[in-house]
Amino acid sequence: MSNTDILFNEMAEAIEWLDDEKAIELVDAALEAGVDPVDVIEKGFTKGLKVVGDRFGDGEAFLTELVAAANIMEEVSERLAGALAGSQRKVERRGTVLIGTVAGDVHTIGKNILKTLLEVNGFNVIDLGEDVPTQRFVEKVRELKPDILGLSALMTTTITEQRSVIKALEEAGVRGMVKVMVGGAAVTEKWSKDIGADGYAENASDAVQVALSLVG
């Protein structure tokens, strides 16, 4: 095993053990040794993140650990930002998901859990936050051209906004550019079909599978 391979293994382990200090140390060591930053992500840290994601899927890891792992990944990416920008290669992503809680709804936790799970599974996620006005979704779809738009609504009073967003996308002529997923406590499969969404899931884990199938 080469020194670089040993370094990659240590990176994976740093995430598995949720050791953020060690992770940053390893990033610095890799940069000093001139290791390709894309390899640092893909061959190193992503492997560890996947292990935590799989353990979560098997009911062995807890959500709090998953979030911690994702946070370390974010720190690592920030540390690598300069080197990545200078690199010829790009980190491979499964797709881009634009996500937000609809207008009138200020609930965020479900959306945030999904965001973490999508990132762990290799998606690039752009979070518009909560209480997002309908037109902002439309503008951002046009501007960022995501593969998937995820609309979260917790309350029975706000799920109607999901329909408004889909209508607004149609009126703006950009509905065909993006797959729309809807979710949230009050959302049902029937509702998602009624409003013409492309995907629906009852919980965050299922939503990742739906997202994978939509970009697959």
Partner: protein, 485 residues
Amino acid sequence: MSDLTEYRGGKFSVLSRDQIYDIHMATLEVLEKTGVLVKEENALKLLDDAGALVDYETQRVHIPQYLVDEAIRKTPRSVKLCGRDPKNNLRVEGNRSYFGLGGSGIYMLDPDTLKRRTATKQDLADSTRLADSLEHIDFLMGLIIPQDVDQNIWDRYSAEVKLKNTMKHCFTGALGEEGARDVLKMAALVAGGEHELEKNPLFSFILCTVSPLTHDARNTQTAMELARHKAPIIFACESICGGTAPISLAGTLVLQNAEVLSAALIAQLTNPGTPVIYGAVSSPMDMRNGSIVMGVPEVALMGVAVSQLAQYYGIPLYSMAGITDSKIPDAQAAYEKALQQVLVGLTGGNLIHNAAGMLDKMITGSLEQMVIDNEIIGMVKRIMRGIEINTDTLATDVIDKVGPGGHFLGEKHTRRLYKGEHDLSVLSDRMTREAWEKAGSKDTVQRANEIVKKKLETHQVEPLDRDIVEAFDRIILEAKRKTMG
């Protein structure tokens, strides 16, 4: 004023007096040091004028201790909540407990297939009338939010259905200032005027805080509008341990307390003496999958703890017991519900909501479950009554009369005290095996279903005057016109 038997707690606790004080002091620290987010300009102004440290740009408010004391002092220690029939009135204070429906689900369970379906306005009417008929259900909230009406004004439809279908007090929702005004107008028509309604509130309004530590614009506006009418407001914190609240139960109790007391402060600054009801009904998150869990012992523990906290403050409480993660009326539903109900009841949580009718993390309503819950509550109430000790019940006279070797069957004493001393079930099977088989070997859910059918066939609620019903129609039509804009 009320015919309801009094049921009092005060027989169980999980917190010592010192621990309650610790929670109180931690809450004061959070409110002063961390502060809360108030996303409503007029509320910020009120808090600023009263002496809170307000940053208008970030909308962050730091609340000094003396303002928290003011909020507690100005909140009435007792609230009278009324039904259309005064015999159903509730006196909410101290350690008096009442049990009520759970609610705001979006599905109903089909008792035959055990599948769920989307809830309708008819379901709300049926469930409300059934709850009206059940002896141990003291107050209602909408079992479900009807999904077949315009979702922008479901609050008006719910108010209409409730006023038509029960003589008991109801919790209800209001969507914004206009919703609050419409719903109050509807209730005032039934109460006989606005002034009458203020004296005899037929509705209390549930408003949720947004955890952690946020009061959003619409709910704050609604609260201020309700306060101007002195309508009873329940500020409910529904945080999630480990998600929107600390993972520790103590930390969750502190966070809830900070949210509810700061909401109460805004109401009291708007209109001193507004009947505010303390609501703290958080539940944990299952860290294995991120879902909320409800039928867990921690919910019972927190239910007891908030009952003690509210009693310490002397603020009427909206508590919770009887929630379950089970999808169908089964053994899990029964044990999860019973455990919470008996503990919160023995503590004396005031308005124990969600005590009846709900399954599946409060998403699905079930009429059969409501009948089963009515049975559990009846047993809990019997336990709460305890054992009466007096000359009559000590029964030395009748023991002497019967003497050694006789029996008590024919005694007047037996006939006179039997009903009061012993729980007479309507649902539970307490027959011999042979008798149970002869009656069709029915399980609990089947027997509950028979009771549901019979009650819905026979139970009538006194109809409202025609002009009131027509006025409801006009209010709803007008609200509809406005939303169509």
